[in-house]
C-alpha cells in the first residue's frame, strides 16, 4: 500500500477502546484552534463589543441585575474582548471570579493577585492594599510570582509608588460613578509598569492592571456589587 493511502486510512480511523480516555490530543488541538479562529472572526464582526447585535447597555445591565449576583467585567483592549464574570470563591477580602470557560481571576479588595487558566498565569503576588494605594508618595515593594522557563517558579520584584490623579467620573455599563483615579507606578531595572485604579470610597470600581508578560494589561470593572 502507498504511504499516502495509509496515512489517509489512519486519519479516518479514530482510536477506540474500553477507556474513555481523552480525545486524541492532536485532533482536539486542531479542533480548538478552528473554534478559536471562528470565535475571532465573530468577535471582529461584533466590532469588539461583547454580545454585539442590538442589545443596549441598559438591557444588558437589566439582564445582569436580574441574576442578582455580583458581576465583574473583564476586558482586554489589545484583544477587543470582554467577559462578564461571576464569583466562584469568596474568602475574607479575596474574591475569585470565573469566566464561563474555566479561567479565574483572584483579587484582594480589587487588586489582582492570581489568575488561572490563561496560560501565562500570575501564580501569586505580593500586592498593595487599597489603603496603601491611597497613601500617595510612599514607596513599597510589589512581587509577581509566575511559572517561568520549564514551569519553574520565577518572580518579578518592583519598587512602586502611587499617585492620586484626581476625582473622575467613570461610566460602568451605563452607570456613572464618581471615583478617585490612583495611578501606581512600578519599576525594576528591566522595566516599568503602571496600574490604574478608580477607587470609589474604599473599594475599587474600575482598574487596569498588569497580569503577566504574555497577557499584558487587563481592565476590570465592578458592574454589580
Amino acid at each position: 500500500m502507498k504511504p499516502v493511502a495509509g496515512l489517509a486510512l489512519l486519519a479516518v480511523l479514530a482510536a477506540c477502546g474500553s477507556e474513555k480516555s481523552g480525545p486524541n490530543p492532536m485532533v482536539s488541538a486542531i479542533g480548538a484552534m478552528a473554534k478559536d479562529s471562528v470565535a475571532k472572526v465573530k468577535a471582529r464582526k461584533a466590532g469588539g463589543k461583547s454580545g454585539g447585535k442590538s442589545v443596549s447597555v441598559e438591557e444588558r445591565r437589566a439582564a445582569l441585575e436580574k441574576a442578582g449576583k455580583p458581576i465583574l467585567r473583564v476586558s482586554s483592549t489589545t484583544l477587543g474582548q470582554t467577559g462578564f464574570l461571576t464569583v466562584l470563591d469568596a474568602k475574607g477580602d479575596v474574591l475569585t471570579w470565573k469566566t464561563p470557560d474555566g479561567a479565574t481571576f483572584s483579587q484582594r479588595s480589587g487588586v489582582l493577585i492570581q489568575t488561572r487558566g490563561l496560560g501565562a498565569d500570575l501564580m501569586s503576588a505580593e500586592a498593595p492594599s487599597v489603603g496603601q494605594l491611597m497613601r500617595a508618595g510612599t514607596s513599597y515593594q510589589r512581587i509577581y510570582y509566575f511559572l517561568g522557563d520549564d514551569d519553574q517558579g520565577t518572580r518579578r520584584t518592583y519598587d512602586c509608588t502611587s499617585a492620586i490623579i484626581g476625582k473622575e467620573s467613570i461610566e460602568v455599563l451605563g452607570r456613572t460613578h464618581h471615583a478617585t483615579h490612583v495611578s501606581e507606578t512600578c519599576e525594576r531595572p528591566l522595566g516599568k509598569l503602571t496600574n490604574d485604579y478608580w477607587i470609589e470610597g474604599t473599594s475599587i470600581r474600575q482598574s487596569r492592571q498588569w497580569v503577566s508578560g504574555a497577557i499584558g494589561y487587563i481592565e476590570f470593572q465592578r458592574v454589580i456589587d
Binding site: 504511504p3 493511502a5 495509509g6 489512519l10 480511523l13 482510536a15 477506540c16 477502546g17 474500553s18 477507556e19 480516555s21 481523552g22 490530543p25 492532536m26 482536539s28 488541538a29 480548538a32 484552534m33 478559536d36 470565535a39 475571532k40 465573530k42 468577535a43 461583547s50 454580545g51 473583564v74 482586554s76 484583544l79 474582548q81 470582554t82 467577559g83 462578564f84 466562584l88 474568602k91 475569585t96 469566566t99 464561563p100 470557560d101 474555566g102 479561567a103 479565574t104 483572584s106 493577585i113 488561572r116 487558566g117 490563561l118 496560560g119 501565562a120 498565569d121 501564580m123 501569586s124 500586592a127 512581587i143 510570582y145 511559572l147 522557563d149 520549564d150 514551569d151 517558579g153 504574555a214
Partner: protein
C-alpha cells in the same frame, strides 16, 4: 456573553508566544545547512540559546542532510545527522544512493565579550566512516546589532581547500570505524574559512562565506556536483522563533535550501501551562464559631467511608485522577491516587488536596496523598489542611507550602482502607493508529491493539499486537554480524511480523520495604525476546542517588511475531548493576554494568537532560568486550534519544509524548532486553527530585 473570550485570549497569547520575533539586540547564532550553529556550509564560533533543540533539513544539489541538534548546556552542543547522496553512481557504478549517519560535538571555549569574540571548537562526524569528518576552531564577533564576522581554521573536509600545511602532522585513515577517530582529529592539512552574516531586520538575514571544503568526495571522486568556486551566498528568512528558511548559491554551481525547526524545550509552545483553573480550596468554619463541625464522631458511621470515597472520586474524575484507596481516622486521611492525565506530579497532588478540602469533614487536619504507579505507592506527600487554607492566596504560596509539607516513603496501604471495586480486577483495551519510526520520516504506520487486565494492585497482564499498514522503510538487508543476531535481524522482524504480537506479559510490581521497590515481568517481553525479567531498586524519596539490580533470562523469538522459538536456538542470562544519579538542574546520569544480550560483558553510560515539563534529551554509549570489528561498522553501541511531550506542544491534558532513539549503526553488542516500566523512571516523578522542579504547579 456569546463567545468565550478567554479561550480566544489564551489562543491569542499562544499565537503571540509563537510568532513574536526575537529582540533585535540579541543576536544568537543561526544554523547552517548541516544543522549546526554557523554560516551557510561553514560553522561559526556562536552557540544556540541553552537547551535549543533543532531539526534541520539541508539540501545541496544531490546531497540531503537531516540533522537533529541539541544545545546540551550553554557551551556544549551535539548533533545527529542523516546524510544521503543521490547520483552516487554517476561516475563509479554501484548503488544510486549512499547514506551515512554522523555525530558532532561542539564546545564554546570562549563566550563573546566586549572585545573577545565567541570561540568554538568542533568535531564533525567524530565516530563513523569519516565521509563527513572534520574538526575546526572558529571565532565570531558581533559588530553593532546587525553584523557578525566569522573566521576559522578547519581540518579534514574543512581543511581540504587551499590548505596552509599540517601543523599537527598527517591524517591517518579511519580505522576502525565506529569508534571516536581521535587519532585523526586536527591532523592533516588545515585550511582557513570565513564568512559574514548581516541581519537586515528581524526576519531577513544575508550570509556570505568562503568555504574551505573542497568537496573532494562529491566533486572529484563521485562527480555528482561541480565545485567551481569557494564562495557561497544566500538569504535566510526567520518566521517566528521556530521556523527558519534559507536559499543559497553554493560553490558557483548548486542551489542550496535549508529548513529549520527550532524549539526551546524550556518554554511551552502554548505560552504556559494551559487547562482550566482549579477548584478553590474549601475553607472550614472557624473552630470557635462552629465547634460541632470539628467533632470526630462521624468516623463511627458505617456509611461514611463509601460516601466520602464516592464524593471524592467525582471531584477527582474531572482531572483524570482515580482513587486506589481511601483510609481515614477522625483527624487524618490517606488517599492513594492514580494520576492518568496531569503531566506534573505536583499539580496532581494539589488538585487532590483541593478535592479533599471539599469532601473531608472538618475534623480531618492531615492529608496524606500517595501517588500510585503500577500499583506501587511512589511516595507520600503529607499536607496540613490548615496550611492549604492559609496559603491559598498568599504571596509565594508555592515556596511556603513546600516548606510545610513532607515527602516520605509511601509505606504499605493502611490495613482498613476502602479499595475501589471498579479498579480491580479491571480489563482495558484499545485499538489505535500507531507510528513506528526508524529515523525521522522513515518507518511504518499501522494499528495497535492493546489490552490489559489488572488482577490486583501491582499485578497486571498486558499485551499488544501491531499490524503495519504502510511502510517506507528500506528493504531489510541481511545481517552479517558474527555475534548472535539479537538485534541486527530487526529488518526481518519488521518484514515478517505482519501482524506481530509485540508483547504479552504478566508483571508484578511491589514495594516490599522502605526505599525498596521490585518488579518481575514474565512472558513475551518485546518483539525479539521473551522470558523473565526481575528488578530491585533502592531509591529513598529524598535521595539523588538510586541503585538497582536487574536479572533476565530470555530466549529469542521467531521473526513472524508469533509465539514460537524455533528460528533461533538462542537463550541468554543477562543482568546489570545500575547506579542512577540526579546531578540537579535536570541532568540525570546512569551507569549500568553487566552482561548484555549477545553474552558480552560491559557497561553503559547515559546522560539525559530532563525538563520538568516532560522534555527529555539524552545520549548513551555502551562499551563491551565485543571488539569494534565484531560489532560491525558502528564500533560500539551509542546513540541519542529524545521525548517531546504532547502537553508541551499542544497544551492538552495528556501524559503522552513523542519519543525516539537514534543510533548511527545498530549492532548486536551492548544490547539490552526492552522491558516496559523499569522502576526508576516510573517512580522518579513523585520523588522530590521529580516533584520539586515544577512544584509551583501544586497551586495550578
Amino acid at each position: 456573553m456569546q463567545l468565550s473570550p478567554f479561550h480566544v485570549l489564551s489562543s491569542l497569547v499562544l499565537g503571540t508566544a509563537l510568532c513574536s520575533s526575537p529582540a533585535l539586540a540579541e543576536m544568537t547564532g543561526t544554523l547552517n545547512l548541516n544543522g549546526a550553529t554557523g554560516l551557510i556550509d561553514m560553522p561559526s564560533g556562536d552557540a544556540q540559546e541553552d537547551a535549543t533543540f533543532s531539526f534541520s533539513i539541508g539540501n545541496i544539489g544531490p546531497i540531503t542532510r537531516t540533522t537533529l541538534s541539541f544545545q546540551a548546556s550553554e557551551r556544549l552542543s551535539a548533533s545527529f545527522r542523516f546524510q544521503t547522496w543521490r547520483d552516487w553512481d554517476s561516475v563509479i557504478p554501484g548503488d544510486a544512493k549512499e547514506t551515512d549517519r554522523s555525530i558532532d560535538l561542539r564546545y564554546q571555549i570562549l563566550k563573546e565579550g566586549r572585545i573577545a569574540p565567541a570561540v568554538t571548537i568542533g568535531l564533525i562526524d567524530l565516530t563513523s566512516r569519516g565521509m563527513f569528518a572534520s574538526e575546526y576552531i572558529a571565532a565570531t564577533k558581533t559588530f553593532g546589532d546587525r553584523l557578525k564576522v566569522t573566521a576559522g581554521l578547519g581540518w579534514g573536509r574543512l581543511g581540504s581547500y587551499q590548505g596552509i600545511g599540517a601543523p599537527f602532522g598527517s591524517r591517518p585513515p579511519v580505522d576502525p570505524t565506529g569508534t571516536p577517530n581521535a587519532d585523526q582529529w586536527f591532523r592533516g592539512e588545515a585550511a582557513p574559512f570565513a564568512g559574514v552574516e548581516y541581519r537586515i531586520n528581524d526576519n531577513w538575514t544575508l550570509k556570505g562565506e568562503y568555504s574551505s571544503d573542497a568537496y573532494l568526495l562529491e566533486d572529484g571522486e563521485r562527480g555528482m556536483i561541480e565545485r567551481d568556486s569557494p564562495f557561497n551566498f544566500g538569504i535566510e528568512y526567520q518566521r517566528g522563533p521556530a521556523v527558519r528558511l534559507g536559499v543559497y548559491s553554493l560553490y558557483g554551481s548548486e542551489v542550496g535550501l535549508a529548513f529549520h525547526i527550532i524549539l526551546d524545550p524550556k518554554s511551552r509552545a502554548t505560552g504556559g501551562v494551559v487547562g482550566a483553573a482549579p477548584v478553590p480550596v474549601k475553607a472550614r468554619p472557624a473552630r470557635a464559631a462552629d465547634p460541632e463541625a470539628y467533632d470526630g464522631g462521624w468516623v463511627t458511621q458505617a456509611d461514611a467511608g463509601p460516601i466520602l470515597r464516592e464524593n471524592l472520586a467525582k471531584r477527582l474524575a474531572a482531572d483524570g485522577i482515580s482513587i486506589e484507596n481511601l483510609a481515614y481516622t477522625a483527624t487524618t486521611v490517606q488517599v492513594r491516587i492514580r494520576n492518568g492525565r496531569i503531566d506534573a506530579g505536583s499539580q496532581a497532588i494539589g488538585r487532590t488536596a483541593r478535592a479533599l478540602s471539599h469532601v473531608m469533614p472538618a475534623s480531618v487536619e492531615v492529608f496524606e496523598i500517595v501517588p500510585v504507579v503500577n500499583g506501587i505507592g511512589a511516595s507520600k506527600v503529607t499536607i496540613r489542611r490548615s496550611d492549604l487554607e492559609a496559603l491559598e492566596y498568599s504571596a509565594d504560596n508555592a515556596t511556603l507550602l513546600r516548606e510545610r509539607i513532607t515527602v516520605t516513603d509511601a509505606g504499605a496501604a493502611p490495613a482498613f482502607s476502602l479499595g475501589d471495586e471498579d479498579l480491580y480486577p479491571k480489563f482495558r483495551w484499545s485499538l489505535k493508529p500507531a507510528v513506528r519510526l526508524a529515523e525521522p520520516a522513515k518507518g511504518d504506520i499501522g494499528l495497535r491493539l492493546s489490552g490489559s487486565y489488572d488482577f490486583a494492585p501491582g499485578l497486571v497482564l498486558s499485551g499488544s499486537i501491531y499490524k503495519p499498514i504502510a511502510s517506507n522503510r528500506d528493504s531489510a538487508s541481511t545481517s552479517t554480524s558474527t555475534l548472535p543476531h539479537v538485534r541486527t535481524d530487526s529488518g526481518r522482524y519488521n518484514e515478517f511480523g505482519d501482524p506481530a504480537l509485540e508483547k504479552l506479559t504478566l508483571a508484578w510490581y511491589a514495594h516490599p520495604a522502605e526505599n525498596i521497590y521490585s518488579r518481575v515481568t514474565f512472558g513475551y517481553l518485546e518483539r525479539m525476546h521473551a522470558g523473565v525479567s526481575g528488578e530491585v531498586l533502592w531509591k529513598p524519596v529524598n535521595s539523588q542517588l538510586a541503585l538497582g539490580v536487574e536479572l533476565n533470562y530470555t530466549k529469542q523469538r521467531d521473526t513472524d511475531g508469533g509465539l514460537g522459538f524455533d528460528e533461533y536456538d538462542y537463550d541468554v542470562v543477562t543482568g546489570y548493576v545500575s547506579a542512577y544519579y540526579d546531578f540537579g538542574n535536570g541532568y540525570l546520569g546512569q551507569l549500568d554494568v553487566g552482561r548484555y544480550l549477545a553474552g558480552d560483558v560491559g557497561a553503559t553510560v547515559s546522560l539525559d537532560r530532563v525538563f520538568a515539563n516532560g522534555w527529555r534529551v539524552g545520549a548513551f554509549a555502551t562499551v563491551t568486550d565485543v571488539s569494534a570489528t565484531e560489532f560491525g561498522e558502528g564500533g560500539f553501541d551509542k546513540g541519542i534519544r529524545f521525548t517531546i511531550p504532547f502537553n508541551w506542544a499542544l497544551g492538552t491534558d495528556t501524559r503522552r509524548g513523542f519519543g525516539m532513539t537514534l543510533r548511527p549503526k545498530s549492532g548486536d553488542g551492548g544490547a539490552r532486553v526492552d522491558v516496559d516500566d523499569r522502576l526508576y523512571e516510573s517512580l522518579r516523578e513523585y520523588h522530590t527530585d521529580g516533584l520539586d522542579p515544577d512544584w509551583g504547579r501544586v497551586w495550578r
